[in-house]
């Protein structure tokens, strides 16, 4: 795609291979002066043809494949596929397996939201938030490794149950570890939610109205931040979610601040869900031992950290799926940028794009280094991130408040 300069309008491609973004992105912004007037996205760099690969695998091999659709939503993709196949089979998953699947899914939600919080902090110039959030991801990753065998790509769920039990003897350790991070995460949540600079900086930025959220079919925190109260855990109950009391967090404003609050509070709620799931987890079998998948078709829906993961599976009674459709949450969330980012200042674009928490590999992103006709680089994500950080500094000066890192840095050092 070429950069066009037409009167006042210019097209900025954004996204170098930025060191602090796990995947580069490839958005093309058309800007007029300093305002975004259009947005387009080029995706295909991460396309690995997973649906086609799935049709050449057996039913049992597919979870290993689809947990690698995205490393951060690694529990949700196999779960959604497995749910679809279990619906075709009509089998009943043992209770213990349901509770333990819930525990792993919520651990993933915590580490995913903290990852997002850290990146958001980096984009805003709050490096303390980055270090804080990612420091407290570590115990969660360690727990995932202890319970499933890997820090990511857990391969814990299978058709009819789970592959490996989490023994009751381990519950105390899991409880202790999640309770130990509750305090620091709660502190981080309040530090961020009560921060006057962030309030000034993020309120009314990139708002997605309730009506637009519905027209763009968004899901997850992107929807719940705009007053659309949907959550697959409630609307299509699976595993132990209809056996445990839990709260869905919804804000009406639809701006970046609302989405941030949804994610931070959901992290704390996820810890509560884990505690309740472990308390209520019964003994018993972990596997319904499904031998054969009959002909049929069905869908599975799981609430991944980013929103609803939706899978469709068709079987003809053979060894593997005839057709397997995978729809990651970011696939419907990302296009809503056209509704929320148009009219925004380019200094706010980085955080506005991040607010949707696009899981890049779910939706296949990569950056392109573009040169202008004159030979220099017109813009890249690092440039836009610097604009974003400068804007934060401007708010700090306006409000006469010390930078967040200086206020909270020593406190974090104490915690560490």
């Amino acid at each position: 795609m070429r950069i066009a300069v037409n009167g006042n309008r210019s097209v900025l491609p954004i996204g170098p291979f930025h060191p602090l973004q796990e995947e580069p992105e490839c958005y093309y912004l058309t800007v007029e002066g300093e305002r975004v007037v259009d947005l387009d996205v080029r995706i295909s760099y991460n396309h690995r043809g997973i649906e086609e690969l799935s049709s050449r695998r057996t039913f049992d091999q597919v979870p290993y494949l689809v947990e690698r659709v995205c490393g951060i939503c690694s529990a949700s993709h196999p779960l959604a596929y497995i749910q679809a196949v279990e619906a075709i089979c009509g089998c009943e998953v043992p209770e213990r397996a349901k509770y333990l699947r819930t525990v792993v899914a919520e651990l993933e939600r915590i580490h995913s939201h903290l990852l997002w919080a850290g990146l958001a902090g980096h984009f805003l110039g709050y490096n303390t938030v980055f270090m804080w959030a990612w420091r407290y991801r570590e115990p969660v990753m360690a727990l995932l490794e202890k319970t499933t065998g890997n820090r990511c790509t857990y391969a814990n769920a299978k058709i009819g149950g789970i592959r490996r039990d989490i023994p009751n003897a381990m519950f105390e350790e899991i409880l202790h570890d999640v309770e130990s991070i509750y305090g620091p995460i709660e502190m981080l949540t309040h530090a961020v939610m009560d921060d006057p600079v962030l309030h000034a900086r993020l309120t009314k930025i990139a708002p997605l109205s309730n009506a637009d959220a519905k027209r763009w079919c968004v899901t997850g925190p992107t929807a719940r931040g705009s007053g659309v109260a949907i959550d697959a855990r409630r609307d299509f109950p699976y595993d132990a979610y209809d056996r445990i009391d839990w709260k869905m967090i919804v804000f009406e404003e639809g701006d970046v601040m609302a989405k941030m609050k949804v994610r931070m509070l959901e992290t704390l709620e996820a810890i509560e869900i884990i505690k309740r799931a472990l308390a209520g987890c019964p003994d018993g079998a972990i596997d319904a031992e499904v031998e054969q998948v009959p002909a049929g078709e069905a869908i599975g829906r799981v609430e991944a950290p980013r929103g609803e993961t939706f899978h469709y599976v068709r079987s003809d009674g053979g060894r593997g799926p005839v057709r397997h459709k995978i729809r990651a949450p970011s696939y419907v969330n990302v296009p809503s940028f056209r509704a929320s980012c148009i009219g925004q200042h380019i200094a706010d674009v980085t955080i506005a794009l991040a607010a949707v928490d696009p899981c890049y590999s779910c939706t296949e992103r990569m950056a392109v280094l573009e040169k202008t006709p004159a030979g220099g680089r017109l813009a890249d994500a690092e440039y836009l991130r610097r604009l974003s950080v400068e804007r934060t500094r401007w708010f700090e000066k306006q409000l006469g408040i010390e930078p967040f890192d200086r206020r909270w840095g020593p406190r974090l050092q104490e915690l560490l």
Binding site: P19, E22, E23, Y45, G49, L53, G71, M131, W134, M366
Partner: protein, 165 residues
């Protein structure tokens, strides 16, 4: 030999390239910067451009769309550099090996551009952060060896020669 060789003992600049990956390896690379592993205290830094890089940390299977970009990036990286293939996908495309949207894998694409490229491999899906650090340390040692081998013997300048006579 570039001046870059002489300064290697003090710091190592790493540029991260994703050629079509699931994010796992990429996130574990970022993990290295956080307090848990904190590789910056060893002088390992992630940089924002291949032009400043000593090491290209490459993840992913190298999809059709990514292959030309990977070649461009390699060519933009000053020599000597080491390509560090991180994760099973970067080693040999792993579970995605027979996908329609990928051609040759990372090391083959690099060797098309530079048959003599130095390529290191860190296997795993994803590799543990400790394994990545070990990979980087081995690469660093290799670069130091190359620097030592390339160091010219001290030579008198013409002015000094003239003064001696």
């Amino acid at each position: 030999m570039s001046w870059k060789m002489w300064s290697l003992k003090r710091s190592l600049f790493v540029y991260h390239v994703n050629t079509g990956a699931c994010n796992n390896c990429d996130i574990e690379i970022l993990e290295l910067l956080t307090p848990a592993y904190d590789v910056e205290r060893f002088g390992i830094t992630l940089v924002g451009s291949p032009r400043h890089a000593d090491v290209l940390a490459v993840t992913g299977i190298c999809t059709r769309q990514a292959a030309p970009r990977l070649r461009e990036i390699y060519q933009a990286t000053p020599q000597p550099c080491v390509v560090l293939c991180i994760g099973t996908c970067a080693l040999g495309q792993g579970i995605f090996a027979d996908t329609y949207h990928a051609g040759r894998c990372v090391d083959e694409v690099i060797r098309e551009v530079d048959p003599g490229a130095i390529i290191a491999y860190v296997p795993g899906c994803p590799p543990k952060p400790e394994a990545m650090i070990l990979g980087v340390v081995k690469v660093w040692k290799k670069l130091d060896e190359l620097a030592a081998a390339a160091k010219p013997a001290p030579q008198a300048t013409p002015v000094v020669e003239a003064a001696r006579q």
